[in-house]
Amino acid sequence: MRTTTPPAPTTQATQATQATNSRALHRRRAATVGFHAGAGLLSVLWLIPIALVLVTAVRSFDDIAANGLGALPHSFTLDGFSQAWTDGGQQRALVNSLLVTVPTVLLSLLLASMAAFALSRYDLPGRRTLLLVMLGGNLLPPQILLIPVSKMAELFALHDTLWALIGVQVGFGIGFFVFVLHGFMRAIPAEVQQAAVIDGAGPAQIYWRIVLPLSRPALAALGALSFTWIFNDLLWAITVLRTETRMPITASLLGLQGQYVSQWNVIAAGSVIAAAPTVLVFLRFQRHFVAGLNLGAVK
């Protein structure tokens, strides 16, 4: 906004303040311009790879072969998408990913909220130790579990099934979920629970009717966050699965890279397909998502 000069006769003092005012204003404006220039440049730098992959995905193979990968596009086609989707097996892989991710998220939330409820609302002997043992399991480097888990899955005839993948993801993630939900649930006032006890409610009813609905914000945050984690997993998938047609989208994307060597339009389209679900979840549940990241931060 522009400041108008007052029409009144100006004394030396007001002239001086005006000079400093306009200097301060200039400085502020310069700082604003500087901020947008710096932050804008940074954002553009961060978005370039994404823009490049979007552009590459809609170019034709001939265009890329003739003009090079880093050139400006001379074509527009969705062939890359259809090739990745059907011939490249991305459609099936996406279904596999969702078949693993959705049950894993729901089961983890259910089981972890049960444990967190019991540990935070009842005086169980050794509850603090139990909580930390469970969290400790989640902090283990997964490498130490890979060989035994793959062998165990074979032993129980779960090898190469989506069940094994769901099992290990639930088991490995549960400790972190319990820890976060425990922190949330113990902040619920004791009076709420006492009132329910007086009304004759048992623990199962208190859990399902009172504590779980009150924990909705934490459940939503964890749900949004863990959806992306589990959906994006590669290591567990290639450890317990063998058959190409059962692989989730991350592993299938690696396969696509081998199958369509240097057909960058197909590979780029595949990457877009693989990233789309988590981007959608992020955009839809943004607030929960960011909250979730901070929930896990132990101070």
Binding site: P49, G70, L140, I174, A190, N232
Partner: protein, 311 residues
């Protein structure tokens, strides 16, 4: 693009101290016990039991088919003479230092730049945060296109007259590790930024006001007000970074599989290929024990902090 909004307030981490006994009875209800035991059994089956097996397997020689042979500490002794192991260990240390250090510095820098609520700041935050939701495999493929000989990076270098610097970044032994590091950083910085943004938000503005009144310069305020106030966030970031560094696998596996000539090999990728490609399950387990030992300090300190917070 939508805009990153502030996180909803999380309930205070310390609840008002109430009487410890919340349930009416001293005897614990069987339902409550089941509620704890069921998840604990599942975690025990998929995590604790396999982890114990992992430790046991590290002192055996096993091909996965015949019975595992107990060999004592031979696997660990073998590591001393294993050049690939040494390369992988050095690369992992470099990775910890560069991936960890740079993502912390850049994340803090981005958070400081974008901490004030002002016009457009939501867009900038979202732009930096967006890669966090991509899988590391997708991230790897995006960058693989950039690194191609006819890709954007070489084109830009030629465009500004630095033709001498162009190379096939991922196939060059001297650059492969760093070429893999950049995509990993690209994805991590937004995450660290969000952690620091929350930390900066928690600083009482009065502290800055007071420092300003005392005539502190912006640098002094950063050094003596902001940094000390961020101590707890720094601890969180440190644990996240160390744990993530030692877990880093996907991005290397997707881009180079540790090559060329193990120049981008990390302990995690070496462990995986030893176990599942060379089928040396005993030696692979020993490598995973090394990774565990490296992570142990951080895990322990994380648990100690969690323990303090838990009650």
């Amino acid at each position: 693009m939508a805009v990153l909004e502030e996180a909803p307030p999380v309930p205070a981490s310390r609840p008002p101290r109430t009487r410890r006994r919340r349930g009416a009875a001293t005897r614990v209800h069987p339902v409550v016990v089941t509620f704890v035991l069921l998840p604990l059994l599942i975690e025990g089956f998929w995590v604790f039991w396999p982890a114990l097996q992992g430790f046991y397997l590290s002192v055996t020689d096993w091909d996965g088919i015949s019975a595992a042979q107990f060999v004592g500490l031979d696997n660990f002794r073998e590591m001393f003479g294993d050049q690939v192991f040494r390369d992988a260990a050095v690369n992992t240390a470099l990775w910890l230092l560069l991936f960890g250090g740079l993502s912390a510095l850049l994340g803090l820098g981005a958070a400081l730049l974008l901490q004030q609520e002002r016009r457009g700041v939501g867009f900038y935050r979202a732009a930096l945060f967006l890669p966090v939701v991509f899988s590391l495999v997708a991230t790897a493929l995006v960058w693989q296109a950039m690194y191609q000989p006819d890709g954007l990076i070489n084109n830009v270098l030629e465009g500004v007259g630095l033709d001498g610097l162009t190379r096939s970044w991922l196939a060059d032994r001297d650059t492969a590790l760093y070429a893999v590091l950049v995509p990993a950083l690209w994805r991590q910085v937004g995450y660290v930024m969000v952690l620091y943004l929350a930390g900066l938000k928690g600083i009482d503005p009065m502290l800055h006001e007071a420092a300003k009144v005392d005539g502190a310069t912006p640098w002094q305020r950063f050094r003596h007000v902001t940094l000390p106030q961020l101590r707890s966030v720094n601890a969180v970031v440190l644990s996240v970074i160390v744990i993530d560094s030692l877990r880093s696998f996907d991005v290397v596996w997707a881009l180079t599989q540790g090559g060329p000539y193990h120049s981008s090999e990390l302990l995690s990728t070496y462990m995986y290929s030893t176990a599942f490609e060379s089928l040396r399950l005993g030696y692979g387990s020993a490598l995973s024990v090394v990774i565990f030992v490296l992570a142990f300090g951080v895990i322990a300190s994380y648990l100690v902090r969690a323990f303090r917070e838990a009650d």
